[in-house]
Structure formats: structure tokens, C-alpha cells
């Protein structure tokens, strides 16, 4: 079986505020295997996003350990690239091409001569080749998220962290982008952690689903999805429906 890429061990996160503090994540452990799509699923405000931001290095853990290929990680770096939900993750003063080029350039990993070609390759990959010279404010929400995904893939991270990237999109665009993400994953075989509160989305995208409890987040159970449901036709099959029902009942226990 494939090896462990990222390991989260008894992670706890506590937020301090004026009068005191509250526990957002309580003793959470899970593994991300190399090349899999792992879903963090839980009700809104349960702390799943906090787990992702801690992995990204934006938030400091109170206790516990996060290791990437065996090395402890605590600070943000390009080996863990985040795709956010918010559209303002694109820099409005740069074009689509400019956004991807800027990211590549900031890492100092690629020779200047290769930047443009590499950026265009990934912009093409998400189907936005014609929009390379457009500014973000002229693009639709779905296109903006595609650019963010292209930028993340171009950076060739060890793992891709996706924080409800389709959460602000309409249902139709969301469904198209879910298929798109599956396609991109097959092409690039990236290891992905994907945060969502949508059961459907979890089952459509995931290889495995970590079901989290109401906050402070604890792991309810990790569900292995043996057959992929990426194809929309399969969304009507008994298997898909049964899996969704199983997860729903788990979440209800959590409540």
C-alpha cells in the first residue's frame, strides 16, 4: 500500500482571546497517504478549517505533531500550497498569467526563462488558456478558483491543501469544478487534503473521508471509499446513496 505523506498526531489547537481561550481542535490524528484525496468533513465551525490552516503553518498548534515525509512542519512553505475559499486569494493587480508567474518567481526555484512557459502550461491545464491576459475582477467565481488551482499546481507542492475552494460557487459550477478536480488529480496524482461540510462533495471527491465531530473537532471515524464516485452518473447509484447516508448518520451522532 502507498506510504504516509503527511501525519497529524494528537493535534490540539487553542485560540486565545481577550477574556480567555477556547479549544478548537482536540487531539486529532490522521494520515494522508501519498497520492490520495483525503477529505476533512464536519459541520460548519467545527474546526476543520483550523486543522488545515495549522497544517499550512498559519496557526500554531497547542500540542501535537505534524510531519511531512517525516519532517516536522510548523511554518508556511511552498511544499504545502493552500487553495482558499475566498476569491481575493488572487492578486487583483496581476493578470491570470501574472498571478501564476508571480507565485513561481517568489519561490526562486525556477529560472526566469521558464516561468512563462510553466505558468501557461498550468493555465491551459485548467482550461483558461484564452484568459491568461485577463485581470481577476473580469472573471467569474468559478474561473477565479480555477486560476487559484492552476497557481497551486504550478508550484508543484508535496501536498495541496484545499479549504472549501468551491464553497462560494453556485451548485452547477461547483459540480463542474468537482469533476475538473478529479480529472486534474488523475493527471498530476497530487496528495490532497480537501476541507468541506458537504457530504456529497466528500463522497464525489474523496478516497477517504475523515468525519469530524462538532467543535472542538475530534475524529469520529475515517471512512474508506472503495469505489470512486467521481463520475456524475454514479451519483444515483445505491452505493453512493448508502455511503452518503452512512456519513450523515455519523455526523448526526456527532451532533
Amino acid at each position: 500500500m502507498s506510504q504516509v505523506k503527511l501525519r497529524v498526531e494528537s493535534l490540539s489547537v487553542r485560540f486565545e482571546h481577550g477574556s480567555g481561550s477556547h479549544l478548537a481542535v482536540n487531539d486529532v490524528s490522521f494520515d494522508l497517504r501519498s497520492g490520495e484525496k483525503l477529505i476533512l468533513l464536519g459541520p460548519s465551525g467545527c474546526g476543520k478549517s483550523t486543522i488545515l490552516k495549522t497544517i499550512a503553518g498559519f496557526i500554531r498548534a497547542e500540542s501535537g505533531m505534524i510531519t511531512l515525509d517525516g519532517r516536522a512542519v510548523t511554518k508556511p512553505a511552498v511544499d504545502r500550497v493552500v487553495v482558499f475559499q475566498e476569491f481575493d486569494q488572487l492578486l487583483p493587480w496581476k493578470t491570470v498569467l501574472g498571478n501564476v508567474e508571480f507565485a513561481l518567481q517568489a519561490t526562486n526555484r525556477y529560472p526566469a526563462a521558464e516561468l512563462r512557459e510553466r505558468a501557461l502550461f498550468y493555465i491551459d491545464m485548467v482550461g483558461l488558456g484564452k484568459f491568461a491576459s485577463f485581470y481577476p475582477h473580469t472573471l467569474s467565481g468559478g474561473m477565479k478558483q480555477r486560476v487559484a488551482i492552476a497557481r497551486a499546481l504550478a508550484l508543484d507542492p508535496e501536498i495541496l491543501l484545499m479549504d472549501e475552494p468551491f464553497g462560494s460557487l453556485d451548485a452547477q459550477t461547483r459540480s463542474i469544478l468537482q469533476q475538473e478536480l478529479n480529472r486534474l488529480w488523475e493527471k498530476t496524482s497530487k496528495s490532497i487534503i480537501f476541507v468541506t461540510h458537504s457530504i456529497d462533495e466528500a463522497v464525489i471527491l474523496g478516497n477517504r473521508v475523515v468525519v469530524l465531530s462538532e467543535g472542538p473537532a475530534t475524529v469520529r471515524r475515517v471512512i474508506e471509499l472503495c469505489q470512486p464516485y467521481g463520475d456524475p452518473i454514479k451519483h444515483e447509484t445505491p452505493g453512493f446513496v448508502a455511503t452518503c447516508r452512512e456519513i450523515r448518520s455519523l455526523l448526526q451522532v456527532a451532533l
Binding site: A56, G57, F58, P76, A77, V78, R80, V81, V82, F84, E86, D88, Q89, L91, P92, W93, F102, A103, A106, T107, Y135, P136, H137, T138, L155
Partner: protein
């Protein structure tokens, strides 16, 4: 177009008013006289050294003031003590009219360019810093995280994320700074007149009033208005090319 007609109408009323009531030209010259005087001053090149003196002092002070404000504000966004320092200084000095510092400036730097620059820098630094800081703190958290994700920190993060993201506020700050500096420099020139051997437009107006050359006083005022309007157009151009083009205008 309508504004142009209004402008012409206003000039006609002024002209007729002066001619019909017989006000002394020394008190209020008719616009035709003013324009002829302006034309003469421009044609003979008399005005240009004054304009140049004012603008060069103004621009160098603006550059110094803006650079100092940038440093102060970058410290404020990167460190806690920097934030306290910036808050305290701007709260204290922003309400202090620059002109009020003129006597002190004269005491410290004497009668000359350095005194003028001191008060102009003062009129720029705090306003610009307040606006830039507001711009910095309103930069979306996500955008900053994108930068940190790429491994950017410190000055690099300020330069490639904070400054462009806060550009709408920075431009407002620049416009205000320019307006304050412009008022300050003209006022300061009027108050203590000559700056060394070279005077500016303020000094020119003061000198012309002294010799009761009222049309020249008006011509000086016209120049001040014209420069102000030009700068406004310049700012609009910059906005069109940047924040408006990027869909960031506030």
C-alpha cells in the same frame, strides 16, 4: 461643456461688474487685464523661476515625507512596538497644522529652503502614514496568507502584497498629502516670503501685492489654480491605469 459655459459666464459677469461699477483696478482688475498680465508674465518667462522654486521644494519634500511615512507604516504593520509608535505619533502630530511649526522651523533651520521643507514634510508624513496604515490593515487576510504561503516575509511581503493591495488607500493618502503640502508651501512662502535668494509663487504674489500690482497677484493665483487642476488630472490618469483597471477602486 456646461461647466465651460458657466466658467465663461462667470468671467463676463466679473468683467462687466468691474467696468460698470468703476471699481479701481488696484482693488479688483477685470479678467481681461488679468489674462493679459498672465500672458505677459508667461511670455517673458518671469513666472517660471518662481513656479520651479515652489515645485522643486514641494516635490523633494513630498518624496522625503512619503518615504519616511512608508518606513514608519511598514514598521507599524510588521511589529507591535512599531504600531504603538505610529499610532502615538500620528495621533499627536496629525492635528497640528504645519504652518504652526514655522516659527520653530525658522529657529532651527533659519530663513531658507530647509525650514520650508521641514514644515511641508510635517504636513505630509502623518496624513500619508494614517492612510497607508488603514490600507495595510484592510488588506484581506487571505491575500497576506497567499504571500506567506510562498515564503514571503518582512519587507518582501510588504512590497509584493501589502503595498499593491493597499494602493487605493495609498493613492488617497498621496492626494491628501499633495493637497496639504501645496497649501502649506504657498502659505509658508506668503508668511516668511523669500527662501534664501529664490522665491516661489507665494513669494511672487506677496511681492506683487507690495508693489500694488494687483493684476499680477491675480495672475499668480491663476497659476496656482492651473497647477492644482493639472495635478488632479494626473492623479485621475494614475487611477485609471492602476486601481480602476484592476477593479480595486473604492
Amino acid at each position: 461643456m456646461r461647466r465651460f459655459f458657466m466658467f465663461v459666464l462667470l468671467l463676463i459677469i466679473w468683467e462687466l461688474g468691474v467696468r460698470l461699477t468703476g471699481v479701481l483696478p488696484i482693488i479688483l482688475p477685470p479678467p481681461t487685464t488679468v489674462f493679459m498680465e498672465l500672458w505677459r508674465l508667461v511670455a517673458t518667462g518671469t513666472l517660471f523661476p518662481y513656479i520651479w522654486n515652489t515645485l522643486s521644494i514641494l516635490l523633494s519634500s513630498l518624496v522625503i515625507g512619503v518615504a519616511a511615512a512608508f518606513m514608519l507604516t511598514a514598521l507599524a504593520i510588521l511589529t507591535e512596538w512599531g504600531k504603538d509608535l505610529q499610532r502615538m505619533c500620528t495621533a499627536m502630530f496629525n492635528p497640528l497644522p504645519a504652518i504652526a511649526l514655522l516659527p520653530l522651523a525658522l529657529l532651527w533651520f533659519g530663513l531658507g529652503t530647509r525650514s520650508l521643507m521641514f514644515v511641508i514634510v510635517h504636513s505630509v508624513v502623518w496624513t500619508f502614514s494614517v492612510n497607508t496604515f488603514t490600507g495595510f490593515v484592510t488588506v484581506p487576510e487571505t491575500m497576506v496568507r497567499v504571500g506567506r504561503n510562498l515564503g514571503l516575509k518582512g519587507w518582501k511581503l510588504v512590497r509584493s502584497i501589502y503595498i499593491p493591495a493597499a494602493l487605493p488607500y495609498i493613492l488617497v493618502g498621496l492626494k491628501l498629502s499633495w493637497a496639504y503640502a501645496w497649501r502649506t508651501v504657498i502659505a509658508a512662502e506668503l508668511v516668511f516670503g523669500v527662501t534664501g535668494s529664490k522665491g516661489g509663487i507665494g513669494w511672487f504674489i506677496y511681492k506683487m501685492r507690495y508693489s500694488l500690482d494687483t493684476p499680477a497677484v491675480f495672475a499668480g493665483l491663476c497659476v496656482i489654480i492651473a497647477i492644482g487642476l493639472t495635478i488632479d488630472v494626473l492623479f485621475r490618469r494614475i487611477e485609471d491605469k492602476t486601481v480602476r483597471r484592476w477593479g480595486m477602486s473604492t
